[in-house]
């Protein structure tokens, strides 16, 4: 069932071989083929623009009012590429190696190598589009270093790299829309996938302004709908980020890969109160110059300025002398949790650690710190009212990214023929932990350079009978969607959608967050189905389905999170090893580091939906490593 389709041959030739073996579609025939792309983030917009340029008819969907607002816009720090402009020993192989190791050996070598190869093309493409990357005085591109690596390969546009990359892709998309090759459907939410003879042939959407339920048919469907970190309620993701598109596809037969692999980012502004609606990331680049510490003493409530140097514990520098403050995210987050668990955390509730710039200011002056990080310091002050030039920032880990997603083969096709999945929505490439500045790279690699080859190959090599929305499968699926929306609206219960979401999020954070135990997971597996049942009996949605109704939009997403949350716990429970961001307390080294168990768990878990009420079947795709030697990760 799980055929990864990784081409044979040496790793550096695999992608070339695949492209050569792919069948091509004659330019004159491309107009006859239609593609639905759900999502207009980096992955979706890049794919939509590129496929439209090739001549396919593209329909692209997003739930925001404009494709330019996709969540990719929020990425701050940068994008990796193995350009080796710094002459510091970087190479495609090193980026590949760092990514496989950073992912704690739970990604496919073939995929990751291709990603590293394509990274260089991405920078070229984005520069040609006018993305205003940071420059040196001589006019060349500037780079910086990011967590988990020892070379400087991260390209950036101040603290708004995601915004600038997305605007580049968005502008290419708008150009194609003006040319008539893309039809953009904003404020449209995909609520189901339509299969005809086992192939993905269309989607059902809800128009978020009028409430109309619409059907769209195409030869191929691409989901580029982003990650599902909002299962946890509080995360760094945008409020609208959701799992609905991939979850509905999962229920129609697409296997879900590594659902429990979640990234908890170490540098976010700590939670301040119960009313908090989202968490704000402070870019990881801050760890280049900021030093992380907590007091050595438990429950030390002195202001940081009154804690002398020798009573501070710079715990990352102490525990990981060679990487220091630049250890990968999973390691840094876990270390922060440990010191807070030891009652050495700072700030309200003791859920925080210091990120201190005093040394950096002494070394390079406040002006230079301001030039490098000014916008982040401003943002921090807006939110907390504190001036980080004077007092250390307080940070705490927060849910940030989901490495899991729909299972795809090397060509980015899911287990449903004709359903492709790109960007954060798929499970590929990052294994059990993503390195900083690698998600933008992956989204754009998928969208600009992989789908434009692999998707035409599918079109050219599959018999695709003519199908339009008059096919009975559309009417049937549409009917199911309408019924579900109506059922939800008509519960007319007592509890708000947010209250369900918060309760789920809390359970997930406590038992399926930074540390996971058999006992905690089992307790979640009992409580989540009960909460889900209550949701369908007691949720309160005011208004109707036939109008702009934001509570209804949220309710649909939360209903899906209530199913996905259960699968995440199930996955975390079966993976009795620790790896990357997945830390099973039962599996650690004597020093408290994550302990992998390659003998038993060197596989991708891929779950098949078997019906309502927590029924899934686990499939395993074994992972083998030929180029990077399996080793316990060490950043000491």
């Amino acid at each position: 069932m799980l055929e990864s389709k990784i081409p044979s041959g040496p790793i550096e030739k695999k992608w070339e071989k695949a492209r050569f073996d792919f069948k091509l579609v004659n330019p004159a025939n491309r107009r006859k083929h239609s593609v639905i792309i759900v999502g207009s983030g980096l992955a979706g917009a890049a794919a939509a623009a590129s496929l439209a340029q090739q001549g396919y008819r593209v329909d692209c969907f997003c739930f925001q009012d404009s494709p330019r607002r996709a969540h990719s816009i929020a990425a701050q720090g940068g994008i990796n590429a193995a350009k080796n402009y710094r002459n510091d020993g970087d190479s495609i192989f090193r980026l590949f190696y760092d990514t496989v190791k950073g992912g704690d050996f739970r990604a496919r070598e073939g995929n990751v190598y291709r990603l590293a190869q394509l990274s260089v093309n991405i920078i070229d493409q984005c520069v040609a589009q006018g993305v205003p990357f940071a420059r040196e005085y001589g006019g060349l591109l500037d780079t910086r270093s990011f967590g988990g690596v020892q070379v400087s390969r991260t390209f950036y546009a101040r603290g708004q790299t995601g915004q600038q990359l997305l605007l580049g892709a968005y502008q290419a998309l708008e150009e194609q829309e003006a040319a008539g090759s893309v039809k953009m459907h904003s404020r449209s939410e995909m609520l189901d996938l339509v299969l005809v003879n086992g192939k993905a042939r269309g989607i059902i959407t809800r128009n978020l302004v009028t409430g109309a339920i619409d059907s769209y048919a195409a030869d191929v469907v691409v989901l580029a709908t982003g990650g599902y970190g909002n299962v946890f309620y509080l995360s760094t993701n945008a409020k609208g980020s959701n799992a609905t598109a991939i979850w509905r596809a999962h229920r129609r037969g697409a296997l879900f890969g590594n659902p429990c692999f979640t990234q908890i980012h170490p540098t976010c502004i700590p939670v301040s109160s119960e009313h908090q609606s989202k968490l704000t990331l402070m870019s990881e680049s801050l760890r280049n110059d900021g030093r992380v510490w907590v007091p050595k003493k438990q429950g030390d409530t002195r202001p940081p300025s009154q804690i002398p140097e020798d009573e501070r514990d710079y715990y990352l520098e102490r525990r990981y002398p060679s990487f220091g403050n630049l250890v990968p995210r999973d390691v840094a987050s876990r270390a922060a949790k440990e010191v807070c668990d030891e009652l050495r955390g700072v700030g309200p509730g003791g859920q925080g650690v210091y990120l201190d710039f005093a040394d950096a200011i002494r070394r390079m002056g406040e002006a230079q710190v301001r030039e490098k990080y000014g916008n982040l310091f401003d943002m921090y002050e807006e939110i907390t009212g504190e001036n980080a030039y004077k007092v250390p920032m307080r940070i705490y880990p927060a849910v940030h990214y989901t490495m899991g997603g729909l299972w795809v083969d090397y060509n980015l096709m899911s287990t449903i023929p004709g359903l492709f999945v790109a960007g954060e929505a798929n499970f590929s490439d990052h294994g059990a932990n993503r390195l900083g500045a690698s998600a933008l790279m992956q989204g754009l690699a998928d969208g600009y350079f992989i789908l434009p080859y692999s998707l035409p190959n599918y079109i050219a090599s599959s018999p695709l009978e003519k199908v339009d929305t008059s096919h009975p499968a559309f009417a049937a699926t549409k009917e199911e969607v309408s019924r579900r929306v109506a059922t939800m609206v008509n519960v007319r219960g007592k509890r708000s959608v947010d209250s369900f979401h918060k309760e789920l999020g809390k359970m997930m954070w406590e038992n399926c967050g930074m540390a996971r135990s058999e006992q905690g997971l089992k307790s979640n597996l009992e409580k989540i189905p009960a909460l889900r049942e209550e949701f369908w009996k007691n949720v309160n949605i005011v208004g109707t389905g036939e109008e702009l109704n934001q509570s209804l939009e949220k309710a649909g997403r939360v209903a899906d999170f209530l199913e996905l949350g259960e699968l995440m716990c199930l996955d975390a429970l079966q993976r009795r090893e620790s790896c990357g961001g997945h830390f099973r307390v039962e599996s650690q080294t004597p020093e408290g580091e994550a302990l992998r168990d390659d003998e038993h768990f060197s596989y991708v878990s891929a779950w098949e939906w078997k019906g309502e009420g927590g029924q899934w079947e686990l499939h395993k795709e074994p992972l083998t490593f030929e180029y990077v030697h399996l080793a316990q990760r060490s950043y000491k």
Binding site: D65, E175, S272, N540, Q550
Partner: protein, 250 residues
């Protein structure tokens, strides 16, 4: 703290709207403005009243989804801040606050505080891009971009397309939005080949949408959450004159 909110309620684009007054209690200084509205909405729903519709997504000032007038000022008037970044620290107990949607003919109200800003996408479609089909790009460092040009381009590209400039303009013009994109692309070496065409067609598209025209009030700059400077409008006008002369008789 307790606040009195006067909020524009309008069920849909066709309905007529009106201000409705609400009291919210238990607002804390660490809440954001939108979290205060979340609180109001929880209370309204508990009483089976429809929650106030407002747009938001990132809640960190970058997606451009949020935006409405607070006491008549776009995004509430704190320099360089979107509504979602606005903290309740800046309000005090007993304050009365008026919330209404962007007021501009080109941005019809969809519901309550949410408006239709799709004209912005159409202005970009007219020429807000550099044609660079995927695959054909030269090696990135073959294109040298002087640091100043990169910085100017970035300052302009920082626009989040929220629409505050239009809402603040007495004429509801879209000059600052359009000028920001023209300046971003026209400042870069990669943007030169399409420079004249871009300027002409984006300005034409802006005029075609039902935006007003600029009479140099400068209100747009004052409310822009990304502090896009008004001098970019001057830059665009110079580019426009150049392009018009160049293309006369085209």
């Amino acid at each position: 703290m307790n606040l009195t909110l006067k909020i524009w309620r309008q069920q849909n684009a066709k309905a007529s709207g009106a201000f409705v007054t609400y009291q919210v209690q238990g607002v804390t200084p660490d809440m954001s403005f939108l979290e205060m509205l979340d609180l109001l909405n929880e209370n309204l729903q508990a009483k089976a009243e429809p929650p106030v519709a407002f747009e938001h997504d990132c809640r960190e000032g970058i997606c451009g989804a949020c935006g409405f007038l607070i006491n008549g000022v776009a995004h509430g008037g704190r320099r360089g801040t979107t509504v979602c970044q606005l903290s309740m620290r800046f309000f005090k107990d007993g304050d009365s606050v008026t919330l209404e949607p962007w007021r501009a003919r080109a941005f019809p109200v969809l519901r309550d505080l949410a408006v239709d800003r799709s004209p912005f996408d159409r202005i970009i479609q007219a020429g807000g891009f550099i044609t660079a089909p995927t695959g054909g790009a030269p090696e990135a460092n073959n294109i040298l971009v002087p640091k100043d040009s990169a910085e100017t381009a970035f300052d302009a590209a920082a626009c989040i397309g929220c629409g505050a400039c239009v809402a603040a303009c007495p004429n509801a013009a879209a000059m600052l939005f359009t000028a920001a994109k023209v300046t971003h692309l026209n400042s870069l070496p990669q943007g030169q080949p399409q420079r004249d065409r871009r300027t002409l067609s984006m300005v034409a598209a802006m005029t075609n949408e039902i935006f007003g025209s600029c009479t140099n009030h400068g209100e747009c700059e004052a409310v822009c959450p990304k502090k896009i400077p008004i001098e970019f409008i001057g830059k665009m006008n110079r580019d426009l004159i150049h392009a018009t002369l160049h293309h006369r008789g085209d």
